[in-house]
Each structure stands twice: as structure tokens, then as C-alpha cells.
């Protein structure tokens, strides 16, 4: 049986993309699989009694070494801020390509803590900073120093000791450009080095908390129980900075979604499923319920989504365990169709992610297809005609072409780059100044404009001639020819609408990272947790692939 890939007009809507969850395709999980046989080592740990100083961690295989260089600094409570406008952090990190020499560490000590205003070199691959969850960190130190393990209820509410507030890569602030390292087999997957940085930072937070507790009371202190460590991740605060990424990298976005859709299609096309696989699927769904019930947020928006998700996952479990027979032909196709009919979008995508768990042989080969050589698709095929372009627009943007941009509510917002932090921001076009410097992120509006201009042109006119008088729309002409080849390259929604929920854009990207427990703090930023439940570095050789559900 041939199942069609899901319709981009349905999947690429923001409400659907904002319902995505982590899966076996997620970058932090594929990172762990790739690096499980690498040698992990703590190379340097030079902290004072308060936990301030320098540490270096590495992953090594043959001649290749990646080293995380950590700088933990003292800051006052008033200086601690997760917002991108902060200038000081509890700790700052960089992933160095190779073994850092003393002079490298000295250079990095001057630059890394400055983050955006520091300068890195081509020897550094990623850059990040993190703040303590002070309440949790102090509680853990206090208890460990007295010989006790911390209060698990308290830990569960937060889920981490530190949270990062930005992770940079790909040439930012002088970091190595992607082209320098793109041929390395081990990083043939998006954001792999960013994931490595976060993973090693997580280990640093455990080592630091143990060390400070020991220094505080050498006679009574104990180490944090590895089981507790495993259930702690790294938090992350994410704002609008991440949103334009998915608009600015259309072929990459396509490849992420396309791999997810291809996995689902192949699973739905399985005529029969072995008992071990259906059992694994059911057990993951069952175990995952605790990920939902332990999902803490004060956001009304998210609380409502979690409530419906929990209701529908329980309904699904009930159906699968009491009514459904996996001996049916094409069982996952039946389940998928049932989900679409009976449950909310959030639940559909949640279960779609879990459907991938038993089928590593389907998912694994797709992971290598999630990167993109974007340069290859940059040139506009100018020998094509306006007629060709019109046909693409009508076929690929059919819903977008129905939006009436003369209505105020459909173009109420605009994206701009803040002068203070060079970060993307969103504002009200009719109440704030700056819309004359709008970023080219209103793709739906510009596509509609392009469509109207095309209608006024001769269909036989070649694109090279069309662009002479329409260079203001060149950026969307390029995109239209990209979407012709890459059906999932475009968000099929209005990114300047009054009703835009920007965190849907963040959710999409973060789900591919592998984040758990999205906690919106407003419609523009959220907190998440990464690597919660993941194996510790010394457990990587042989770990449970389903750790997300079994921790």
C-alpha cells in the first residue's frame, strides 16, 4: 500500500508545527547515538571552593578531539538575567576543535565570558552561556554537603541545575564557518556540535555541584546520586532569536520535516508489525504519560494544551489497549487515521513521534538527510517563465493566496532587528515605529504580492525580464522556486498576523532539537529542558535508546 506524504498545507501550519514533539530524529538523540563510542574525559577541573574557575571536557575518537572549555564566574543576583540583554552569566562555554593549548585557554578566558561582544576564532565551533537555577543549585549543595540527597520533588519541578540562554554556532562572533567542518562524518546531522556543548555542560553542572558541596564540608559531603543526575537536564530560555531561523533556511526546514513525514509514511505502510515492536510502542506511550503529568508551566496557553494532550493520550491508550488489534493489516495507518479523527493536533504529533520508537531501521538512514547544502538552491532559474511561477504559487501557496492583506489584522505585526542586541524582535506596525526597517520575514504577504504582480504580467515573460521591474520581490521569487522542489520548505501561515503565536515557531525548532517540557513564559519566549533522563557520559557505551520515556 502506498501512503501519501502528509499535505504541507496541513502540516506546515503554525498550530501544527507548534504541536511537534521530540522523536528519534531529534538532534540531541542522534548526537548521543553518534558519539556513544567516543572516549569521554574530564581533562581539567580547576575550580575554587565556590566553584569558580576553569574546566575542560573532551570527546575523542582516533585523531579527532572536541573539547568543551568552561569558565565559571561569580556574579551577583542582580546581574543574573536570562534575557539576551544580559552581559554576565554564571558560566560561559565554548567547544574547541582539538585539544586547547594553555595559550588557547588564556585567549578564551578573555573572550568567552563576554559572549556576543567577545571574539572567537576558527578553532572554536560553538559558544554558549548559562545561569544557575539558584534555588535548586543552593539546595543541592546544601544537602550534599551535609551528606543528604536533595529533595526530589523540588528537583522535579525545575529539572535542571543550570539553564543556557543562547547557544551559538556556524560562524557567529568569529566561530568556525560550517564549511570548514561539514565533511566530518560524525557531525553529518544538524546542530550536532551545539548538542555536544549542551550535553557536556550538563556534566559540568553535576561536577561543579559535587565539588562545591565537598569543599563546603569535606567530612560529610556526598556526591549527587547518578540516578538523580540522569533525571536532571539542562534548561534553556529561548526567545524570538530562534524564530527567523526556520524562515531563513527553507531547504533545511524542508529536510527536517520531510524526514519526519517520510518516517511516518514508511511506518504507516508497514503491513504487519512484530509483537516486540507493538509492545515497545505501547510501553513508550504508557511511560510517556508521566512526562506529561510532570510537565510544569504557569502558562495558561500551555496548561490548556497539556490538559487536552493528557486527555487524548489517555483516550488513545485506552483504545490501543482495549480495542485495537495489532494483527490488523497496516496497523499504524489505522492508528494514525484514528488519531486524526479522535484527538487534538498536539496528541496526533505526540503519538507520531512515539510511532518512530520501534523502527530504528526506518529512522536511522533519514538522520543523515536532515542537513542541507543550501548554496546549491540559491540561484533563481531565470530562464523559467512567469506562467511557471504562477503555477507554482497557485499549487504551493494556495491557502496563503486567500489571505486578505488589506485587512489590518493580517499585517499588524512586523519583524525587526534590535539595534541594542542585533536580535530579531516583533512589534505592532500601527503602534510602534520601525516598520520601514522591516525584515523580510513576512513571506505570506510578499508571496501574495508576487502573485498579484505575476497576474499583471504576460505569462510568457521570462523571469530574468520580470525581475527587472520587480526586484523588490526577488527574495520571494527565489523561495517560490525552492518550494517547487522542497514541499515542506515554507511555513504555510501568516507570520505578521495579529493572531501569530511566535512560540509556535520556537516549538517547531526546539522539538527537532529534542527539547522536553515546553514552558511558555509569554507568547514570545519559553523555557525548555534538554537531556533530562539522558545517559551520563560514562554510560554512553550501552544505553537505553528509549531513555526519554523510561527514565
Amino acid at each position: 500500500m502506498n501512503i501519501n506524504l502528509r499535505d504541507p498545507n496541513k502540516i506546515m501550519k503554525l498550530s501544527r508545527l507548534g504541536s511537534f514533539h521530540q522523536s528519534r530524529l531529534s538532534f540531541l538523540r542522534s548526537f548521543l547515538s553518534e558519539f556513544k563510542d567516543w572516549k569521554y574525559k574530564r581533562d581539567l577541573f580547576d575550580l575554587d571552593k565556590n566553584g569558580y574557575g576553569t574546566a575542560v571536557y573532551s570527546f575523542t575518537k582516533k585523531d579527532r578531539v572536541y573539547s568543551l572549555v568552561c569558565f565559571a564566574n561569580q556574579i551577583s543576583d542582580t546581574e543574573r538575567s536570562d534575557r539576551v540583554i544580559a552581559t554576565k552569566w554564571d558560566a560561559a562555554f565554548t567547544l574547541h576543535d582539538g585539544i586547547p593549548l594553555k595559550k588557547d585557554i588564556e585567549r578564551l578566558r578573555n573572550e568567552v565570558p563576554k559572549q556576543e561582544v567577545g571574539r572567537l576564532s576558527y578553532k572554536e565551533l560553538t559558544l554558549s552561556r548559562a545561569n544557575k537555577s539558584v534555588r535548586i543549585f543552593d539546595h543541592v549543595v546544601e544537602n550534599l554537603s551535609k551528606g543528604f540527597q536533595p529533595n526530589l520533588d523540588l528537583l522535579e519541578k525545575v529539572g535542571y541545575l543550570y539553564r543556557t540562554t543562547a547557544v551559538y554556532g556556524s560562524g557567529k562572533f568569529g566561530l568556525a564557518d560550517r564549511f570548514r567542518i561539514k565533511n566530518r562524518e560524525e557531525i553529518n546531522g544538524p546542530f550536532r556540535l551545539e548538542m555536544m556543548l549542551v550535553y557536556l555542560v550538563r556534566q559540568f553542572t553535576f561536577d561543579q555541584v559535587n565539588y562545591v558541596a565537598k569543599k563546603r564540608n569535606p567530612k560529610t559531603a556526598v556526591n549527587l546520586d547518578p540516578k538523580i543526575c540522569r533525571n536532571l537536564g539542562i534548561g534553556n530560555s529561548t526567545g524570538l532569536g530562534m524564530a527567523p531561523f526556520i524562515v531563513n533556511h527553507p531547504t533545511l526546514l524542508n529536510n527536517w520535516i520531510s524526514c519526519r513525514e517520510t518516517a511516518l509514511k514508511k511506518i504507516r505502510e508497514l503491513e504487519t508489525v512484530e509483537i516486540k515492536d507493538s509492545n515497545l510502542f505501547k510501553s513508550c506511550v504508557r511511560n510517556s504519560v508521566k512526562n506529561i503529568t510532570s510537565w510544569n508551566t504557569e502558562s495558561e496557553y500551555q496548561i490548556k494544551k497539556i490538559k487536552f494532550l493528557l486527555r487524548d493520550v489517555r483516550k488513545f491508550l485506552d483504545f490501543v489497549e482495549k480495542e485495537f488489534d495489532f494483527n490488523n493489516s497496516y496497523p499504524f495507518d489505522i492508528l494514525y487515521l484514528w488519531l486524526e479523527k479522535e484527538t487534538c493536533e498536539e496528541c496526533v504529533e505526540y503519538i507520531v513521534s512515539i510511532m518512530m520508537e520501534p523502527f530504528g531501521e526506518i529512522v536511522q538512514p533519514l538522520i543523515k538527510k536532515m542537513s542541507s547544502d543550501e548554496e546549491k538552491y540559491f540561484n533563481i532559474p531565470t530562464d523559467r517563465s512567469v506562467g511557471d511561477l504562477l503555477a507554482i504559487l497557485e499549487k504551493k501557496y494556495s491557502n496563503i493566496l486567500t489571505i486578505d492583506f488589506d485587512k489590518k489584522e493580517n499585517h499588524k505585526k512586523f519583524w525587526f532587528i534590535s539595534k541594542n542586541k542585533e536580535e530579531p524582535r516583533l512589534a505592532d506596525r500601527f503602534e510602534e515605529q520601525g516598520s520601514d526597517l522591516e525584515q523580510p520575514l513576512a513571506i505570506a504577504r510578499d508571496i501574495k504580492k508576487l502573485y498579484e504582480r505575476c497576474l499583471l504580467s504576460k505569462k510568457s515573460l521570462k523571469i530574468d525580464k520580470f525581475l527587472i521591474d520587480n526586484s523588490d520581490l526577488r527574495h520571494v521569487v527565489r523561495r517560490a522556486f525552492i518550494i517547487e522542489k522542497f514541499p515542506y520548505s515554507e511555513i504555510q501561515d501568516n507570520t505578521i498576523s495579529e493572531n501569530l503565536v511566535p512560540i509556535d515557531m520556537l516549538r517547531l525548532k526546539l522539538s527537532f532539537f529534542g527539547a522536553l517540557k515546553f514552558d511558555p513564559r509569554s507568547d514570545k519566549w519559553l523555557r525548555i529542558c534538554m537531556f533530562q533522563g539522558a545517559p551520563l557520559p560514562n554510560e554512553l557505551k550501552d544505553f537505553d535508546e528509549q531513555w526519554v520515556y523510561n527514565s
Binding site: S121, Y122, S170, G171, K172, F173, G174, L175, A176, D177, R178, F179, F378, N379, I380, T382, D383, I417, P440, I463, D464, K465, L467, I468, S471, D472, L473, R474, H475, V476, V477, R478
Partner: protein, 203 residues
């Protein structure tokens, strides 16, 4: 050292700031990235050009012809570059096109380089005594010292080179003969058994 990613981002924003559309700014940014990657002073020249762009007049072209002469002012290299890139498949048929007076000719190079890749032909770019060979967007060869790049090209010629060998048949044969020394002389038995296909295929 600035990364190429930073160069591309800042160039795109700066190009937009001086008045180019976002789509054109993307093209300029790719071009400057390419120049800097190949070791040409892209940032330096773009900066100089952008300082002039609102003070001096430059001419733009729409449809390019075999011979293109500016009326009063020199051509804007960016407008010209984008037009060449867009119309390259038509222009290629002319075999050679000429332009009279092009400002900051270095800024034209990345567009010609990408055009060479699009048509699958090398492009020779000449003005005064300076020559540049654009090789399929893989590299750019030049006889010009990169330190001082002319700010104006008075008589510019762009030649689309037919794909042909740049060595003689004699040189090729000589090398081929050497390569034959890696072959095994086939005996009757090898002829019978070492090939995949049959000896007679008339069945």
C-alpha cells in the same frame, strides 16, 4: 578574523541599508562572501562603493545587449552583475559582450563566477590590461595584483569560452601512453573468462 557567515550577514544588511532590495542584498552578500573566500578585497571595495553610491550617479541597465555603452555615468557593478547573472543564458549566445565604463569592476567578479557555473563554461573577463578567468565558480585566476584594484574599467570585455582542452593532442597522447602501463595485456584465456559480457551477443 571575521567568519564568512558574519561577512554574508553584515553585507546583506548593509546592502539593504543603502537601498537595494532584500533579494538583491542576498545576491550581493553571496558575492562578497565569495570574493573574501577567494582572497579578493570584497569588503574593502564594497565599502568604498557604498560610500559613493548616494553621492555619485551610476547607470543601471535592464536588458543587456552585445555592446553596452553608458550614456553619462559609469555602470553600477551590482546592477550589472545581477542582470548578467539573470540573463546569462541569453548573453552566452553572443559569445562576447562589452561594456563601456564599469565602476568597481571587482564587484562584478562574483556574479561572473556564479554565471560561469550556471552555463557550465569558463568566462574570461578583461578590461584594459587586466584579465580574470572565472572557472565554474570554483576559483578565479587573474594577472592583477590584488593590492590595488582599479576603481573603473573603461573598456570591458566578457568572453564566454567554449569548453575545450587547454593542452595539445600530442601532450594528451603522451600522457595516455604512460597511463597504458597500468593495463594488463590480455591472453586468450583472460579474454574468455575475465569479462562480464559474452563473446557473442547475437542471441
Amino acid at each position: 578574523m571575521k567568519s564568512l557567515s558574519e561577512i554574508e550577514t553584515v553585507t546583506k544588511r548593509a546592502s539593504r541599508a543603502v537601498g537595494f532590495s532584500w533579494g538583491d542584498s542576498e545576491e550581493i552578500a553571496k558575492g562578497i562572501r565569495l570574493l573574501e573566500l577567494f582572497g579578493f578585497p570584497g569588503i574593502k571595495n564594497l565599502n568604498q562603493y557604498f560610500k559613493l553610491i548616494n553621492k555619485k550617479n551610476f547607470e543601471n541597465l535592464s536588458i543587456l545587449k552585445k555592446k553596452n555603452k553608458s550614456n553619462k555615468y559609469s555602470f553600477c557593478p551590482i546592477n550589472l552583475g545581477i542582470r548578467i547573472l539573470d540573463q546569462i543564458k541569453t548573453l552566452e549566445k553572443f559569445k562576447k559582450i562589452t561594456f563601456h565604463k564599469v565602476s568597481y569592476p571587482i564587484l562584478l567578479l562574483p556574479f561572473l563566477s556564479r554565471s560561469s557555473d550556471v552555463i557550465g563554461k569558463k568566462i574570461l573577463f578583461k578590461f584594459e590590461k587586466n584579465t580574470f578567468l572565472l572557472n565554474f565558480n570554483v576559483n578565479i585566476l587573474s594577472n592583477l595584483s590584488l593590492k590595488k584594484f582599479p576603481l573603473l574599467a573603461k573598456k570591458t570585455e566578457i568572453v564566454f569560452l567554449e569548453n575545450k582542452d587547454n593542452f595539445t593532442e600530442k601532450e594528451w597522447k603522451s600522457l595516455y601512453k604512460l597511463s597504458e602501463n597500468t593495463f594488463v595485456e590480455e591472453t586468450e584465456s583472460l579474454k574468455q573468462g575475465a569479462a562480464g559480457a559474452g563473446l557473442t551477443d547475437n542471441d
